[in-house]
């Protein structure tokens, strides 16, 4: 039934955001269906139209770029919003009037949204709680009438996906329908798609792993070897689980593709922006410098700040996150940070698997 109805309904698939990941996902989708790709920047649209190229990727001929957000909602039933978390809510507010409950949204953004009382900024808040910090699926539900929401997470380095290396992703949603749609649209011989019903858990895993990725970059930048990285990944995992549970996820999601899978990948890869931030910090560059020299946002920097303030509020022990916070925002050197962490009194190896 599904295959037939798919061919009958040849509405294009929408992708919002023509960044690295958005472009690659659009290309993956275009193997099977027509794709409408929204780019905020008109010159990006022109470039794709004229050169069939964006950010160094060749863009599939079935992709139609557009600068018109409402067109996405009007022409597509299935939409993949993939925009940085900092712009996600404003994009949703703009899109929302055109959305209906028949739309399916699967986002691919690994970051938090923060809503603060008037006049406050993240810097002025002593700590943050879940009424202020939202995942992207929660933003979609708050801002629109769409109920069938999912997210895309996992070790998906855009460059490798574009080159067709074997990889896997997880689609998380409360709705099996959404998971199945995602599977049908994205699966291929070298791209495996898994499903998970713990939407918030998977989102949190994807977001929190960016913190550890920065730390991994910093270790690499200091020239340390694999023992240190093994230590970091395993302890980082524990920290993610604790924070994730405090924020409303289940342990299980962190043990899957979106958790350990993504973590192992980003902690070993110089292709990861977050990893790079850590690496350059360890080499002695300042955060300002690093931010000034990249055009795409490393979600992890914001995440460190938010995760640290959430850990304070929920009284979760998160030594890696809070040390990283000191490095990024309070001028602690990476060397000092490492010394601090190595002296941190930790006792039990694993104490979260008690079910």
């Amino acid at each position: 039934m599904t295959l037939k109805s798919l061919s009958e309904n040849d509405k294009p698939i929408g992708v919002i955001g023509a960044g690295n990941f958005g472009s690659v996902i659009a290309n993956l989708l275009a193997r099977q269906r027509n794709v409408l790709l929204y780019a905020r920047n008109a010159t990006v649209v022109e470039n794709i139209l004229s050169k069939r190229e964006n950010r160094g990727y060749k863009m599939h001929e079935r992709i139609t770029p557009t600068n018109n957000l409402s067109a996405i909602a009007e022409q597509c039933d299935i939409i993949f919003p993939i925009v940085p978390s900092a712009h996600f809510r404003s994009m949703m507010k703009e899109l929302s009037p055109y959305l209906h409950p028949y739309h399916l949204l699967i986002h691919g953004t690994k970051g938090f949204d923060v809503m603060l009382p008037d006049g406050q900024t993240i810097d002025t808040m002593a700590n943050l709680n879940r009424s202020m910090v939202k995942t992207m699926s929660e933003v979609i539900i708050e801002e629109s009438v769409v109920a069938r929401v999912g997210c895309l997470a996992g070790p998906n380095l855009a460059r490798e996906l574009a080159e067709g290396h074997p990889a896997a992703t997880v689609i998380a949603s409360h709705f099996n329908e959404v998971i199945n749609v995602g599977k049908r649209l994205l699966r291929s011989d070298h791209f495996q798609v898994y499903g998970n019903n713990d939407l918030v858990g998977v989102e949190l895993a994807g977001v929190l792993k960016n913190v550890i990725a920065i730390a991994a970059g910093a270790l690499s930048g200091m020239g340390y070897g694999e023992n240190a990285k093994g230590l970091l990944i395993s302890r980082g995992m524990v920290e993610m689980v604790y924070l994730g549970r405090a924020l409303g996820g289940n342990t299980k999601a962190f043990l899957g593709i979106a958790g350990i899978g993504d973590l192992a990948t980003t902690c070993n890869s110089s292709l990861s922006r977050n990893f790079n931030v850590g690496f350059r910090l360890a080499q002695g560059e300042t955060l300002e410098n690093i931010l000034a020299s990249t055009d795409e946002i490393a979600e992890g920097i914001n995440t460190v700040q938010i995760a640290k303030k959430c850990a304070d509020y929920y009284k979760v022990r998160a030594p890696i996150t809070s040390t990283l916070y000191h490095v990024l925002f309070e001028e602690m050197t990476v060397k000092r940070a490492l010394e601090h962490l190595m002296r941190y009194p930790l006792n039990v190896d694993i104490d979260f698997l008690t079910e």
Binding site: L6, N9, P97, P101, Y102, V145, A147, F175, N176, E177
Partner: protein, 564 residues
């Protein structure tokens, strides 16, 4: 001394439909035979679909026969039909002979048996609404309530036959009454009240009538039909029968299809989504999802069966909270709750209430100043979106949305069990949050909450069960301290009300001493042991800690604890 409620809350409502023959429930009972057949057929088809092999059908029948025979052996009631043993033993014999027959023949026979069972169940469940007895019942109730009220309150000879007071003075209906009346004309109402007391269903019945709404149907426990006079009233009010002894799959499926198809046909219904009475006295947090999910299914069926473009009758969920100063069964309920929570740490005192106590209560209720209020919540669609008076679903920004779109996949309405399970969960969360929002705080809730929390604060090292065993000499709170805490909590309740997160009775306003007095006078007013009293030195004491805990629980869940 009584703080008077605003009078304008108590106006009289005209019926929204003139004659009983226009009522959906009347239509249903007029076509009773066809309806029962439809229920049986659809249930049968559903059971068949989930059990594709004949073996599964036969297993199901055998299990059902076994359970029914066990039930008849152990627990027969007066209402049970006389031909029951014969019916089931015939079925049993027929099932035995099935194995000797060739497969095709036995398959057809098994189907026939299953259909017979389901058809019997549908007949058992079906209500028997009769317009004449409905009118009669309504008049009887009205007449006697009025007599009781006036006889007890107006202290003059002959007052018994006066009509100075009506039930309206005792029971205040607040909230979205106008909208409810409009929606009842636009579509089908499914009313979902909180459940605290056995009185609830009677109360709701009266409210529906006094709001000028046509009779609603609801599932009443079969045990109530054991009593002849009850059976008469129940039948006349559109109740259908729910037999909680029968847990077999064919029965449960039939019951589900009965209520679902009735809603689908436009019969306004009442479900208590909490399942049973709240044991702890808290507002329901966890709802039974079965009935909610069949409501969603009913709406989806309507969308599927109606051609695109034609109007579809919408189903509206209306949350309702019932607010009491006093719950007759409170001591029993809280005992149940505490013994299930505390295991051996809690030993309930035996203290049962019978029908004599019920009569006493009714008399006291009418004679003394204890009022009940009912808050009607805003109408929701089956996803939990608010609707406007015309019945259109609205999103958070007030834009109109088409509820049909929630069931659309690839451009058409589809049935997806898992999707609807998720919608059920969303709807249930929405109903719970509406309960908290429309909950109406009484002075008695306030004083119970503050007193219990103060005791808790004085003994931070004791858990609940330790607290309940506190020696009597520690059970005293200085009035000044109590007064200050009441004031702080009341202020917070005001703040929450301004944010639209809770409501409170008008009597909560005014001088705090009067409010406290009103609360103390009313909290658990008719219990043998009062949960809260003021002693001769003017201090606050309790005679029954667990019942106090029960009334206190009404305000749990608003984070008011830190203001005590």
């Amino acid at each position: 001394m009584e703080v008077v409620e605003k009078k304008n809350k108590n106006k009289q409502y005209k019926p929204i439909l003139d004659g009983i023959p226009d009522w959906p429930v009347y239509q249903l009972s007029k076509n009773r035979k066809e309806f029962i057949e439809e229920v049986a057929q659809k249930t049968f088809a559903h059971i068949k679909k989930n059990r594709p092999s004949p073996k599964q059908i036969i297993d199901e029948i055998q299990a059902t026969v076994y359970r029914e025979q066990q039930r008849m052996k152990r627990n027969r009631w007066r209402v049970d039909p006389a031909d029951e043993p014969k019916f089931w033993s015939t079925i049993k014999n027929e099932v035995v002979t099935l194995s000797t027959k060739p497969p095709e023949e036995s398959e057809a026979k098994a189907d026939e048996i299953l259909y017979r069972i389901v058809f019997r169940y549908a007949n058992e469940i079906a209500g028997n609404f009769r317009a004449t007895s409905y009118r009669l019942t309504r008049e009887i109730i009205k007449f006697w309530f009025a007599r009781l009220l006036n006889g007890a309150r107006v202290k003059k000879f002959g007052a018994f036959f006066r009509n100075r007071y009506s039930l309206r003075d005792k029971i205040h209906i607040v909230g979205k009454v106008g909208q409810l009346r409009k929606l009842a004309k636009e579509g089908t109402i499914v009313m979902v009240p909180t459940h605290f007391s056995n009185l609830d269903s009677i109360l709701i019945g009266w409210i529906i009538h006094s709001l000028g709404l046509p009779a609603f149907i609801y599932g009443a426990g079969l045990n109530l039909f054991n009593i002849k006079i009850f059976a008469y009233f129940m039948n006349s009010l559109g109740a259908y029968k729910v037999d909680r002894r029968k847990k077999n799959a064919p029965y449960l499926e039939t019951l589900k299809f009965y209520s679902m198809l009735a809603v689908q046909k436009g019969a306004h219904s009442i479900f208590f989504p909490g399942g049973t009475r709240s044991r702890s006295g808290r507002l329901e947090k966890q709802l039974k999802l079965g009935l909610l999910s069949s409501t969603i299914e009913a709406q989806r069926n309507l969308y599927m069966e109606t051609p695109v473009g034609e109007p579809v009758r919408k189903i509206f969920i209306v949350p309702v909270t019932l607010n009491y100063h006093f719950v007759l069964e409170a001591p029993d309920l809280i005992d149940d709750y505490l013994s299930s929570k505390g295991q051996d740490r809690y030993l309930p005192e035996q203290d049962k209430y019978g029908s004599w106590q019920l009569l006493q209560f009714l008399f006291k209720f009418f004679t003394k100043g204890s009022n009940i209020s009912v808050s009607i919540g805003p109408g929701l669609d089956i996803i939990g979106n608010h609707v406007n008076d015309a019945g259109n679903s609205l999103d958070a920004h007030g834009r109109i949305i088409d509820t049909r779109d929630y069931f659309i996949s690839n451009g058409t309405v589809t049935a997806d069990k898992q999707r609807e399970d998720e919608y059920t969960r969303m709807l249930s969360q929405k109903i719970v949050s509406e309960y908290y929002r429309i909950n109406r705080v009484f002075a008695s809730h306030l004083v119970a909450f503050v007193a219990f929390e103060l005791w808790q604060k004085k003994h931070p090292n004791l858990d609940l069960f330790g607290l309940l065993r506190l020696p009597e000499e520690d059970q005293e709170i200085k009035y000044e301290e109590f007064r200050a805490a009441c004031k702080r909590v009341r202020k917070e309740i005001y703040r929450l009300k301004a944010e639209n997160k809770i409501y409170h009775a008008t009597h909560l306003k005014g001088k705090i001493d009067l409010v406290i007095r009103h609360g103390l006078d009313n909290v658990g007013i008719f219990h043998l042991k009062r949960p809260l009293l003021i002693d001769k030195d003017g201090n606050i004491i309790t005679k029954d800690f667990s019942t106090l805990y029960y009334y206190h629980n009404r305000l749990v869940g608003y984070d008011l604890e830190k203001f005590v």
